[in-house]
């Protein structure tokens, strides 16, 4: 029976659950599970929506053998407003049976036929090799880290030294942690100081019209940036989702930027052990206030009691802002893969790929 690629249908729910059952039984990463429509909150593909999801499955005689969820969103690409898609979790039964080994190529090509501008964020090592073989451009998005709770960090650092994050990164983290603890000499050495342009931050439930104004003003600074107006922000980071803290940053009462942060314990994580990890997930600001926004995001996460703070940022302004707040660069595993068509558009406008605004944003990362 040939394998068909088709849009998900309600009557395939049982087959999807059976697929996930086989993945679970084999002890394979939960990232390989496919969304189960009854419990998964899809973003509907409705006219006028700037952010939506489509779900495709590979079926064989009623059984699901793989699939992907494709998120499409409006983005500014080299100054042009276009729809860019992402299929972050391409899954196939090749992990269980090698006869499905080539299915991943069909799934990638199927997605590409629907949306030629694609950006995959958070691609694992094997998929990175496959995308490179398909002539996609891959980049690693720099990771910045900072210690929040020096005691907890010190307590967990021994097991982490054995893990992949590496002893050198641990040493630099310890160094930055000492800085946050207030050692003036270390602060001076790292150049850490509150931003000269003092800003205020307030936690908000929803983004308002001021976010649209900032988006309109700032979007041209980047060669690639996903739309970040209030419509999209309120879908990505809804008030009802307790994992996110939304910050509106102002100076003299005037909005100058925003940030979205989250914090969680990821039990026995190979990189962070059992530490409470704070993430600066997404941000936008006037360039002169980027450091102020990161400073306020850092303060907010520190108040929430995180042990370590992390942020992936591609753009030099945001990377400099993180350094100003005492973050140090660590070993990043956040790989982004761009389809040949997206790469072509960006290479013409930003040959060194220096003006991309890519962070660990979004609902599910």
């Amino acid at each position: 029976m040939p394998i068909c690629l088709e849009e998900s249908r309600p009557d395939l729910e049982t087959a999807i659950r059976a697929y996930n059952g086989r993945i679970d039984a084999a002890g394979i990463s939960k990232n390989m599970r496919l969304p189960e429509p009854r419990t998964f909150e899809f973003l509907p593909n409705t006219a006028g929506h700037k952010l939506y999801e489509d779900y495709y499955l590979a079926t064989e005689d009623g059984a699901v053998r793989g699939g992907y969820l494709m998120t499409s969103q409006e983005a500014l690409v080299a100054g042009e407003s276009l729809t860019v898609a992402e299929t972050p979790e391409i899954s196939s039964e090749a992990v269980l049976d090698r006869k499905y080994n080539l299915l991943v190529i069909r799934l990638i090509r199927h997605a590409l036929a629907r949306r030629e501008l694609q950006l995959q964020l958070g691609v694992g090592p094997d998929l990175t090799r496959i995308f490179e073989a398909l002539k996609w451009r891959t980049l690693t998005i720099p990771l910045y880290l900072r210690v929040g709770n020096g005691f907890e960090f010190a307590r967990q650092v021994r097991p982490l030294r054995k893990a992949r994050i590496g002893a050198l990164a641990m040493d630099t983290l310890a160094y930055s942690g000492a800085a946050w603890a207030g050692a003036r000499a270390v602060n001076a050495l790292l150049g850490i100081s509150a931003p000269r342009r003092a800003v205020e931050a307030e936690e908000i439930d929803r983004f308002g019209g001021w976010a649209d104004d900032l988006w309109d003003e700032l979007k041209g600074d980047y060669s690639l940036i996903a739309t970040r107006d209030q419509d999209v922000l309120n879908v990505l980071y809804p008030a009802r989702d307790g994992q996110f803290t939304r910050l509106k940053v102002t100076r003299g009462g005037r909005p100058v930027g925003w940030a979205v942060v989250s914090h969680a314990v990821m039990p026995d994580n190979q990189f962070t052990g059992n530490m409470r990890v704070g993430i600066i997930r997404d941000c936008l600001a006037r360039p002169q206030h980027a450091a102020g926004v990161i400073w306020k995001a850092t303060e907010t996460l520190m108040r929430k009691g995180v042990d370590v703070l992390v942020s992936n940022q591609s753009h030099p302004i945001w990377r400099a802002a993180l350094r100003r707040s005492g973050f140090v660069r660590g070993p990043s595993n956040l790989v982004v893969a761009m389809s040949p068509e997206l790469n072509g558009k960006l290479a013409a406008a930003d040959p060194r790929f220096e003006r991309l605004h890519i962070t660990r944003d979004g609902r599910r990362r």
Partner: protein
């Protein structure tokens, strides 16, 4: 189907350019010996498409078509003929 020796040699060259383990014989079992793991197998298929200038019929390929350099050569020959007829 008879496969010319030079085509088999070209296939072996593609495999050796892609995989860390050298292959010398067209009869070497690439799957069971572990020369091609799941990712390198995909890389080899994509490298073959690039080398021979046409898309392979991914949906029709059976794992047995990729087991040896000789089997891959037969697959390339069949798909090249199909591509020529389709053109």
């Amino acid at each position: 189907m008879t496969v010319p020796a030079d085509l088999r040699d070209e296939i072996i060259a593609v495999i050796n350019n892609t995989c860390p383990f050298p292959v010398e014989s067209p009869d070497c079992d690439l799957i069971d010996t572990g020369v091609l793991d799941s990712t390198t197998l995909i890389e080899v298929v994509l490298a073959l498409e690039e080398r021979f200038g046409h898309a392979l019929p991914i949906e029709e390929i059976d794992i047995e078509d990729l087991r040896t350099a000789g089997a891959i050569a037969a697959l390339i020959r069949r798909s090249s003929e199909s591509a020529r007829h389709a053109a």
